[in-house]
């Protein structure tokens, strides 16, 4: 990723992760909850891998990039431990864009294969479970 844009596949992956989280909960929740959970699930292994400081800086960069596309993320703040404040208020669409940019940064640094290894570890059923268009529509 060079700041010009994000690959369509990465946007699709972020969308799938959010959909998967939303559907797997079977809850009548807002998409923002699902996107927050995606962020949190990504945070845990990445903090193990890179430390709090490493993950925070990665997330901060993703946030800056995502804010250009989703100004609603302007109020979101990254904490020292990699958690975020104000994500819920930013809304589902904006949060999904943040996830997109975080994934995109990961792909830039460690490539598709290793990024997908991490994703598979966090969501082992993601590849098996394809979100149907109806489920997508229902959300």
């Amino acid at each position: 990723m060079n700041g010009i844009g994000v690959a369509a596949e990465t946007r699709e992956l972020a969308e799938r992760l959010v959909m998967f989280e939303a559907v797997s909960k079977h809850a009548l929740e807002d998409d923002a909850d699902a996107t927050c959970r995606v962020c949190e699930k990504l945070r845990r292994p990445l903090v193990t891998l890179t430390g709090n400081a490493g993950f925070s800086s990665l997330l901060s960069r993703a946030l800056i990039l995502a804010q250009r596309e989703a100004p609603a993320l302007g109020t979101v703040q990254v904490q020292a431990d990699g958690s975020m404040h104000g994500l819920q208020e930013a809304g589902a669409a904006a949060t999904q864009i943040l996830v997109t940019y975080l994934l995109s940064l990961l792909i830039t640094f460690i490539g598709d294969t290793l990024t997908m290894r991490l994703i598979d570890d966090i969501w082992p059923d993601l590849r098996r479970r394809t979100v149907s268009p109806l489920e997508k529509e229902a959300k």
Partner: protein, 491 residues
């Protein structure tokens, strides 16, 4: 009870080609090791090679990073190496960052977290990279005892949990003395990167390895896209050369020369052909290789002064088709990139090629080019290096044909310029002679170890069909001076 049942120490393959021989079989299982050296000398890559070679899901490797190279960058770069297996990430190979633990809780916290992770995962391999940064924070003033205690507890813990451990640290050679970690360690491996003039040579040394015999001294290594490859300084010196009296003779490709050699070159010999520039040494070597190819014997030509396609093209101008043999795999023309080779690397490359192809004949064209291809630091030991290389290669049964350019001299008749005659079994000498206003060429067999050979000095010519050997110049004497005179009785 006279018999002692000694404990068997299993050895784990290092994953680094050539290193297991240096280690005396591999890294001892459950050992506590330190890989030290300056930044950029290959410590992390060596640890990764070991980890990816040995880690399994049942006994995973825990790779702890601490205040050093961020894991994300480490993954970014290490995945470029061929040994890196993405499928092992987070299953057999797990990366854990301890920076925050060290900052917040110091050595005690680090020890606790390593203990927790090792116990939780049943880790069989533990790497701490960089261990130096762990200690640097505490290794000052009256905290030295705490550091020593930490190192000992860590070693005890990891050995008790049957983990093979590597601590990686940026240490300078001056720090070798009085380091508590070095005292506790079972193995201490030092990597160096030396710059001499414009060339860089990497070397490693096993400074300490408990429980097994490693090869002492400095060993060169190279880092390529496949990772580290090590070359033992004793490569090729093991084993012995057996040469029977009734060995097969290999044709030189020139019938008259074969006749002078009593049937050709004894198989497994090292032959040196020396002479001035333009005498036809390379052509003779090419005819030797081409003759082998015609007899179904695969060959290798190691060239230093011209590229393989140029070499094959020059051969074709004499009607010798090397290109077809290259294409069908019976001939390899190896161009060894010049200027920073170690002898061991070159030897390894040639040995590998010989074994892979089942080659019977090897041409080294030329020894002067070989010397120039070596990094300057190795040129001082050229004779010793050449001895090892010839011993190693003839030891695996190949027949070597080396060319050597020597400066023409009209007062002496030297056989070679390196005092290396003792290294070769056979020597053919070519030289120019001035006769009747012409610069003509003569050839003679100077030596054939343990074999009878012709003592004739014969004239030869370079024709479009290659070298053609003529009759003895019986009308002349003092041919070896280069300025012969007509014999008295002819006058």
């Amino acid at each position: 009870m006279n018999q002692i049942n000694r404990v068997k120490i299993n050895q784990l393959a290092s994953g680094v080609p050539g290193l297991d021989e240096i280690l005396g079989g591999g890294f001892p299982e459950f050992s506590f090791n330190i890989i030290a050296g300056a930044p950029g000398c290959g410590k992390t890559t060596l640890a990764h090679q070991f980890v990816f070679r040995n880690a399994t899901e049942e006994r995973p490797a825990l790779y702890f990073t601490v205040l050093g190279e961020p894991a994300l960058k480490m993954l970014r770069y290490q995945q470029q190496y061929a040994f890196f297996d993405p499928a092992k990430l987070n299953t057999a190979v797990r990366f854990v960052n301890l920076s925050q633990v060290l900052i917040d809780h110091g050595l005690h916290g680090v020890l606790e977290e390593i203990t927790r992770q090792v116990q939780a995962t049943n880790a069989g391999i533990v790497v701490v990279d960089s261990f130096r940064t762990v200690l640097r924070r505490e290794h000052q003033g009256d905290r030295e005892v705490e550091v020593q205690s930490f190192v000992q507890q860590l070693a005890l813990l990891l050995t008790s949990w049957e983990a093979t451990t590597f601590l990686i640290g940026e240490y300078s050679v001056a720090e070798q003395a009085n380091n508590p970690a070095f005292t506790v360690a079972d193995g201490l491996f030092w990597l160096y990167q030396e710059v001499e003039r414009n060339s860089v040579v990497r070397k490693l040394q096993v400074m300490k390895l408990r429980g097994q015999m490693s090869v002492p001294g400095m060993h060169t290594f190279r880092i390529t896209s496949a990772g580290l490859q090590a070359f033992s300084r004793t490569l090729g010196l093991t084993g012995s050369k057996k040469k029977g009296p009734d060995r097969r003779r290999l044709s030189t490709g020139i019938a008259a020369l074969d006749e002078m050699m009593n049937g050709g070159i004894p198989e497994g010999d090292s032959l040196l052909i020396s002479g001035p520039s333009g005498a036809g040494k390379s052509l003779l070597a090419t005819q030797f290789i081409a003759s082998g190819l015609r007899a179904g014997e695969p060959g290798i030509v190691a060239v230093f002064e011209e590229r393989p396609d140029e070499y094959a093209e020059r051969a074709s101008s004499f009607g010798l088709d090397l290109q077809t043999a290259v294409e069908n795999g019976s001939l390899a023309i190896i161009y060894l990139r010049p200027l920073d080779l170690s002898v061991d690397e070159m030897m390894q490359e040639l040995i590998d090629a010989v074994k892979k192809m089942g080659a019977k004949r090897l041409v080294i064209d030329s020894l002067a080019g070989f010397e120039m291809a070596l990094a300057p630091g190795f040129r001082a030991d050229f004779r010793e290096s050449l001895y090892r290389m010839i011993f190693a290669l003839t030891g695996i049964g190949i027949t070597i044909f080396s060319t050597l350019e020597i400066e023409e001299n009209f007062t002496k008749f030297p056989f070679s310029s390196y005092l290396i005659s003792f290294l070769t079994d056979d020597i053919i000498r070519m030289r120019y002679v001035e006769i009747e206003g012409q610069l003509r060429k003569i050839v003679t067999i100077v030596k054939m170890r343990g074999c009878a050979h012709s003592n004739d000095i014969r004239e030869y010519e370079i024709t479009e069909d290659g070298i053609v050997i003529r009759e003895r110049l019986t009308d002349y004497e003092r041919l070896t001076t280069g300025i012969p005179t007509i014999r008295q009785e002819i006058k």
